[in-house]
């Protein structure tokens, strides 16, 4: 049985459906990410799980029991706030102890647990500091320790890394995964950062305009996006829009801006006249000086951006079609170079939504 089970939950603010008929199950002990652009309803969904919003319809179950109508203080869930929401009038130890004291845990056990939590987030020795005396990264750790102190069944993390700078974000991401594995608590992370979601979570749910558009492993989401939105939002992508042709024996797509029909993966069987979108990730594109057998598009390099570990090459066909390719390693082309672009037809994903 899933630890968290959301059954067709909806929430409207005025005429706008912030969360629209969302059903979702999160397995016990997993690190689950809720990914979407700002305003997609992911935070509202998180707040419904925490108890700060009541769904207009639908049920929310945690560990089998219905919590839909329960106030936040009665739910076996804790939340780490995006702003951290540390109590400014309390020191670090009292912040972490706050939840335990609400349970009337005895003082000695509280002190022990606080010490344990400080150790877990590597903040031993900071017990008597006030929040304003800490750096952003330290505050983030205290917020995590405070949310974990009660050992909730489910920890909700609202954009846990958004307030940190880039380098710290990468380190903290790994630490969060480590802590999650150590404590074994189910983490539900809300994020707008696809890199964060893909690298941290074992399962990712993508939301758009209040709806859940795809759930799967990070690999599923990236390699097999189910819709144009997911393909575009998660990572970089080349999108080809057109009509399937029946000219050749292989299924292919006639696309404006491209002379050559774009090959579709084998077994693609679509009725005539349907508009189809084909998605191809930039790293699947191969650039060469001479055309490869079968399929190749002639293009010129229109711009290059060097990214350290590799570079992104923007290409233009003679008919005005645009492509982008990601090449690992150093730059091997210059602006204006004429190249041949190709990829394996099986690397393309056909999207009908």
């Amino acid at each position: 049985m899933a630890l968290l089970d959301i059954n067709s939950a909806s929430k409207h603010f005025g005429a706008i459906a912030a969360v629209d008929n969302v059903s979702l199950a999160v397995e016990r002990g997993s690190l689950f990410a809720l990914l979407g652009p700002s305003g997609c309803g992911k935070t509202t969904l998180l707040r419904m799980i925490a108890g700060f919003e009541t769904p207009d319809s639908g049920r929310i179950r945690i560990d089998g029991s219905d919590v839909t109508g329960l106030p936040p203080y009665a739910r076996p869930v804790n939340m780490m706030f995006q702003s951290y929401a540390l109590f400014p009038h309390m020191d670090v130890a009292r912040n972490i102890a706050f939840g335990l004291r609400q349970e009337r845990m005895d003082r000695r056990r509280v002190a022990g647990r606080v010490e344990e939590m400080l150790e877990l987030v590597q903040m031993t020795g900071y017990a008597s500091r006030r929040p304003h005396e800490l750096s952003g990264g330290q505050r983030q750790r205290v917020a995590l320790a405070r949310a974990l102190a009660k050992m909730p069944q489910l920890l909700l993390l609202d954009e846990p890394l958004a307030a940190l700078d880039r380098k710290l974000r990468a380190e903290t991401r790994l630490e969060l995964i480590g802590i999650q594995e150590r404590v074994g608590i189910t983490f539900l992370v809300v994020t707008h950062d696809q890199e964060e979601a893909l690298s941290m979570a074992s399962r990712v749910a993508v939301m758009n305009r209040g709806r859940l558009v795809q759930i799967g492993t990070p690999k599923d989401i990236y390699e097999r996006p189910s819709s144009r939105f997911v393909a575009d939002f998660v990572g970089e992508v080349n999108l080809f829009e057109g009509e399937p042709t029946s000219r050749s024996d292989r299924p292919a797509l006639t696309v404006a801006g491209f002379e050559t029909p774009i090959p579709l993966p084998c077994g693609t069987d679509l009725p005539h006249g349907t508009e189809v979108v084909l998605a191809v990730r930039p790293e699947k594109l191969v650039l060469s000086q001479i055309p490869r057998d079968g399929f190749a598009i002639a293009a010129t390099v229109s711009s290059l951006s060097y990214l350290g570990g590799g570079s992104t090459v923007h290409l233009l066909t003679r008919q005005g079609g645009q492509l982008k390719a990601y090449l690992p390693g150093g730059i091997r082309f210059a602006r204006g170079d004429a190249v041949w672009v190709s990829w394996s037809a099986e690397d393309g994903v056909v999207l009908t939504e």
Binding site: G51, M79, A85, K150
Partner: protein
């Protein structure tokens, strides 16, 4: 940062300092000066501080007025009466004002603006007229008694005016906005996610209030309480218009000394003691608060 220079800084700070010096400190010093003089018949009706004669400059300063204040039970009772009335009014304003401020801070958009406007609206009418209006409401055949008799709830008018009740009512009515506004300010500035975090960690609504909201709005409570307590202690108009023969407040005593007895030195001494009695505890409390903040 853009440097404004030494001169700029001196000018910037100097203007308000000069203002306070001329219009606050200087008058206060004049009052202190008068408080150590003796009452005489003349203009002005008190002895000068310094006189010049053949032997040079002579200083006349006496503590006689303060000795008089300490010796006469009337003054001590008036001080205490004022303090008790004002403290009670402050407590009542806090009890009434906090929930009102909370409701305003939690209202949205136009509703919040309307409620704030209603709190500030009494300031648009003269204070004196508003206190007079209470006489019309509270008198034996005033609005309230007529209304209650009309309803058949009472058969004879209730004694609502010219007693302790009407003075307290007047104080609470007049000073309530001064309590609501600073508390509203600190509640509006309170980060809502702190309240949510407390609830999320298992605190029930009352605990959230006690452990998070109340401590974080203490500065507003302190500011509001001072804004009510200090003027209420020295209040003259309300006890004079709404009070009865048993109402003993220091503002009224001061007025009587000044205008009826024309004893400026004793009146000044009363004022000096009043200022000292109010300012010293407040300064000490502030010092204590600052030390706690620093610790």
């Amino acid at each position: 940062m853009i440097g404004i220079g030494r001169l700029g800084r001196v000018l910037l700070i100097g203007v308000p300092f000069l203002w306070l010096g001329f219009f606050f400190l200087l008058p206060l010093l004049i009052v202190v000066k008068i408080s150590v003089a003796e009452s005489i018949v003349g203009i002005p009706p008190y002895t000068p501080l310094v006189t010049r004669d053949v032997s040079g400059l002579n200083f006349h300063a006496a503590v006689a007025n303060f000795v008089l204040l300490a010796g006469d039970q009337l003054y001590l009772r008036a001080y205490l009466g004022s303090l008790v009335n004002a403290a009670l009014a402050t407590a009542l304003c806090l009890l009434l004002g906090y929930p009102m401020a909370y409701a305003i801070a939690h209202a949205h958009g136009a509703r919040r603006q309307l409620l704030l406007f209603l709190v500030k609206m009494p300031f648009w009418t003269s204070f004196l007229i508003r206190v007079y209006a209470w006489i019309a409401i509270l008198e034996p055949n005033g609005l309230l008694n007529d209304f209650l008799i009309g309803l058949g709830l009472i058969s004879a008018p209730l004694p609502l005016l010219n007693n302790q009740f009407s003075v307290e009512l007047g104080l609470v009515y007049s000073y309530l906005p001064f309590m609501i506004l600073p508390i509203y300010g600190s509640l509006a500035a309170l980060d809502e996610s702190l309240v949510e975090a407390a609830a999320d960690l298992g605190a029930r609504p009352f605990q959230v209030f006690r452990a998070v909201i109340l401590p974080l709005t203490l500065p507003g409570i302190a500011a509001g309480s001072l804004l009510v307590l200090v003027p209420a202690v020295g209040e003259f108009v309300i006890p004079d218009l709404l009070g009865g023969p048993d109402t003993l407040m220091i503002g009224k005593v001061l007025w009587d000394e000044f205008f009826n007895n024309r004893d400026w030195p004793v009146a000044a001494a009363i004022a000096v003691v009043l200022v000292a009695a109010l300012a010293l505890p407040i300064l000490l409390a502030q010092k204590f608060y600052e030390q706690r903040q620093a610790a």
